[in-house]
């Protein structure tokens, strides 16, 4: 609970090829039973407003550029939480021809939340852990180590789908 006293994190949620299960759990954590708004977390639609990028699903060819664009639009300091087993490693869809299998192949990920579907409790726990990382990054920014921070949050090279697609044909 202590970590929520540090900052009111604003959250950007994007469904990158998820089955909806984790997404409705992300929404469920906003509603009265779990109510993350009491910790100051707000779900925002604007990437420039957001501190935490909650991302679900295993990322396909079409959502890959969207994910990377949203991530680059977010301002430092920023943290990424990969929610659900699909976002961690691809889950049951790992062998599908159209999925990347893991958000960390598309953008740098700070916290991995397991589960299929991830429960609201674990999503909240994941965001709490992300806040510790966010605080460290904020401190780096405060100390004038912006370049180091940007190096840490640099986008990995654009992943290639062609090998997976060829295997299908």
């Amino acid at each position: 609970m202590k970590s929520f006293e540090k900052k009111s994190p604003w959250i950007l949620h994007y469904d990158a090829t998820s089955c909806n299960g984790c997404d409705i759990e992300v929404l469920a954590s906003l509603t009265p039973r779990y109510d993350i708004e009491r910790f100051g977390m707000v779900n925002t639609g604007n990437p420039k407003h957001a501190d935490v990028f909650l991302i679900t699903g295993s990322v396909n060819a079409q959502s890959l550029p969207v994910v990377r664009r949203l991530y680059s639009q977010m301002l430092e300091p920023k943290v990424v939480v990969a929610v659900g087993i699909c976002a961690n490693s691809g889950g049951v869809f790992r062998d599908c021809y159209n999925v990347l299998g893991g958000v960390d192949k598309a953008i740098p990920v700070d916290v991995y939340v397991p589960g299929c579907a991830a429960r609201p409790e674990s999503i909240i726990d994941g965001v709490e852990r992300a806040l510790d990382i966010l605080e460290k990054k904020a401190k780096m920014l405060h100390d004038g180590r912006l370049q180091e921070l940007q190096e840490m949050d640099k986008l990995p090279p654009m992943p290639d789908f062609s090998a997976k697609k060829e295997a299908v044909v």
Partner: protein, 360 residues
């Protein structure tokens, strides 16, 4: 007369948790034409059937969509059971029906919440989702999962429900009914809500038939179409119910139909619990599917079609799903024509779009 402009809607937007992209051709504040483009959630799941054991594929089929996951698991199991001529024990049919109707309540409550959110009624959104948590509690107690249950398997179900559990479900639903009435009255009687929804996005009966709409969207336009009426695989033949139909075809009518179905589902569960027979919960499954089979199921969003083709090995040749949202997207495009820009989020929500079903 201003020039037409194109406004992109999505894929990342705050109305829906799911990515859908619609190009809106606008003239001033009026939408002239809407061009949807999909593909943000396509995983290529049907192709995976060639690599997975047909019995294990149930887990993948359930993950076609997280909201109607039980329905998808059931639909796939029914198709394979049909192809293998497996007789599902009657108790399993009843248990499946009970879980399926509970899923319908959870899905419609979710929709009511999103609808309230789309029109800016935050309190109602929270209230609907608070009720939904009670259904999720029942799921968690009976199946172990909140969203994805993995309780349906080929030949029957994995878990039994005892008499006490079944009765407690009915008791809890009866308690919920009064609370639900308060929420649904807000939708049906509150003048601001009615003014926001009535006459918006009208879809005539002819259009609904021509565009092959399914589920609550079709029923709100006066088309009496409910797969449960002719369903022989579930317990629906033994239960008495009337399809919920409205004639206006606007947003309010679609809301009315879904609210009526909430109470209808509670009634169906009550009847099913009274009539549930004793016996086995799963049939023995031997061999591999050789034939092809086609089946239809009424999901919360409408009629879904499942097709499987076996080849005698444990891997199927083909699995195909036609999901209800896929059939309702033409209706959305028609309803968006000529509407105000401010009504677009509400109209998108009104067909209860499930993008991950549509694209698989």
């Amino acid at each position: 007369m201003a020039e037409t402009t194109v406004i992109p809607f999505g894929p990342q937007h705050p109305v829906l948790p799911e990515p859908v992209h619609i190009d809106l051709e606008m003239q001033d504040e009026k939408v002239l034409r809407a061009i949807p483009s999909i593909g943000y959630v396509h995983r290529g799941l049907e192709k995976l059937v060639e690599k997975r054991d047909y019995q294990k594929f149930v887990y993948v089929a359930e993950r076609i969509c997280g909201i109607c996951s039980f329905g998808h698991g059931w639909g796939y199991c029914r198709a394979v059971e049909g192809a293998m001529h497996i007789d599902v024990p009657p108790r399993a049919k009843y248990l499946r029906t009970i879980w399926h109707e509970l899923s319908r309540i959870h899905s419609h409550l979710l929709w009511l919440g999103l609808m309230a959110d789309a029109m800016g009624f935050e309190n109602l959104f929270m209230s609907s989702w608070r009720m939904r948590e009670k259904i999720l509690d029942i799921f968690e107690e009976t199946t172990g999962g909140r969203i994805i249950f993995s309780v349906c398997k080929i030949g029957g179900v994995r878990r039994d429900m005892e008499k006490g559990t079944l009765n407690s479900i009915v008791d809890r639903l009866t308690d919920m009914e009064a609370e639900l009435r308060v929420i649904t009255d807000e939708f049906l009687k509150e003048p601001t809500v009615i003014r926001r929804m009535s006459g918006v996005g009208v879809l005539s009966r002819e259009d609904a038939i021509e565009l092959c709409c399914v589920g609550p969207v079709a029923r709100a336009s006066g088309v009496v179409g409910d797969m449960r009426l002719i369903d022989t695989e579930g317990a629906y033949q033994d239960l008495s119910f009337e399809p919920c139909v409205a004639t206006e075809g606007d947003c309010l009518a679609r809301c009315k139909v879904r609210i009526a179905e909430l109470f209808q589902s509670i009634g169906l569960i009550r009847q099913a619990v009274e009539k549930v027979p004793d016996g086995e919960i799963a049939a023995l499954v031997r061999g591999n599917p050789k034939e092809e089979f086609f089946t239809r199921i009424e999901q919360p969003r409408g009629e879904a079609i499942y097709y499987v083709k076996g080849n005698g090995t444990k891997f199927l040749d083909r699995m195909r799903v036609r999901t209800p949202t896929n059939a309702n997207i033409p209706a959305l495009v028609r309803a968006l024509q000529g509407c105000d820009y401010a009504d677009v989020p509400m109209l998108v929500v009104t067909i209860d779009p499930c993008i991950s079903c549509t694209e698989r």
